[in-house]
Symmetry: C2
Subunit: 213 residues, 2 copies
């Protein structure tokens, strides 16, 4: 597929939204949509949509709009949701357990193969068929099973050291829920940070602002 | 505190990060920090930091840097983490349970008072002391307890109708984990969207890009 280089982060961040919206249209049995209709549904301008999709070679036909199923599939392919990435979760506390279940049931393209924790009391527990292993077994597991993605659900203090170890063990991407701020390129691997508490504080800010208003 | 109007979203989004970094410095017993040092730690330019904090009236003294504890407290106040907002969670599935525990143990400024679900089988279960109530009891609960924040952990299809009901019941802010895209102002209330699957798909994109490279 002809694809531009240096596609901006904001375009890439919109792709999953396109994918979701098109998935909903597809479920509803809608076959074709104009960029205008899509723009109204998504609250993005039609010209923005055309520009975004042109980064990946364009998909529409002038005057005919987009074929929903094709576009959904193409964007899925760009996003890599059709490939399956072997993934592990580090930290099996409340958040780690929830994220593990999320990956098992809601995330196309990711296959959870291992869960690790350092607390002896948690090790051996089974989360929907996957045993929680002690973190000491991480190296052996990675050498054997070659996972590509690690999900960090551990406290801030342990995040950096763990991430460095994961790099050495061949991990290519980190989904980071710890409070440590990784850059999006860390030691040559990709990191996607999810700061849940930051999001909640942003909400708190707005509600506080309303109180002051 | 003298505060500018129309503070940009990007400044507001950085405030929780400042709050977290200053919290770590405070824990380490560091009393004072220059904008230059802070900028190195946070990977933001010193001039950006000064600009950001100037939006809220400025806190530093030329040549003396920032008092860590004061700045942490002031930003906490701006973010409203010192107030306590009564909060409810809608949807007690895997994600709802995890988010409930997150709010109980990790989120300053939010007090979880109720959890609701429509599945009879889940209702009556206790999540760390809070019973899961049937969604039919939502109205009565809100009229009595006046919660201010609702956390949506329900499927996409139910999100809009539920949010409209919550508005009518006096909710002022929504922390949205459903796959429905709310605008940040919805029916006069504030919404903070967290699209976990989008974040994971972004990671997938980058790993896919690497594969193609």
């Amino acid at each position: 597929m002809p694809k531009k280089d240096n596609i901006s982060l904001s375009v890439i961040k919109r792709l999953p939204r396109y994918y979701r919206f098109l998935g909903v249209l597809k479920e509803k049995g809608i076959n074709r949509i104009s960029s205008k209709e899509l723009s109204q549904k998504m609250n993005i301008t039609a010209s923005q949509i055309r520009q975004d999709l042109n980064c990946f070679g364009g998909f529409g036909q002038q005057g005919y709009g987009y074929n929903v199923e094709d576009l959904h599939q193409e964007i899925g392919q760009i996003l890599g949701v059709n490939d399956v990435l072997s993934s592990i979760v580090i930290g099996a506390g409340n958040l780690g357990r929830a994220v593990s279940l999320h990956i098992m049931f809601e995330s196309k393209g990711f296959n959870l193969t291992g869960i690790f924790d350092k607390k002896e009391a948690i090790c051996g527990k089974i989360i929907r068929g996957i045993p929680v292993r002690h973190i000491d077994q991480l190296e052996e597991f990675c050498l054997e099973r070659l996972p590509k993605v690690a999900v960090l659900c551990i406290p801030r203090d342990a995040a950096l050291e763990t991430a460095e170890q994961l790099c050495e063990l061949g991990i290519k991407g980190i989904w980071n829920f710890s409070h440590y701020d990784f850059t999006s390129h860390f030691n040559g691997i990709r990191v996607e940070n999810v700061h849940l508490s930051d999001s909640l504080m942003t909400l708190s800010y707005y509600l506080n602002e309303n109180n002051n208003a």
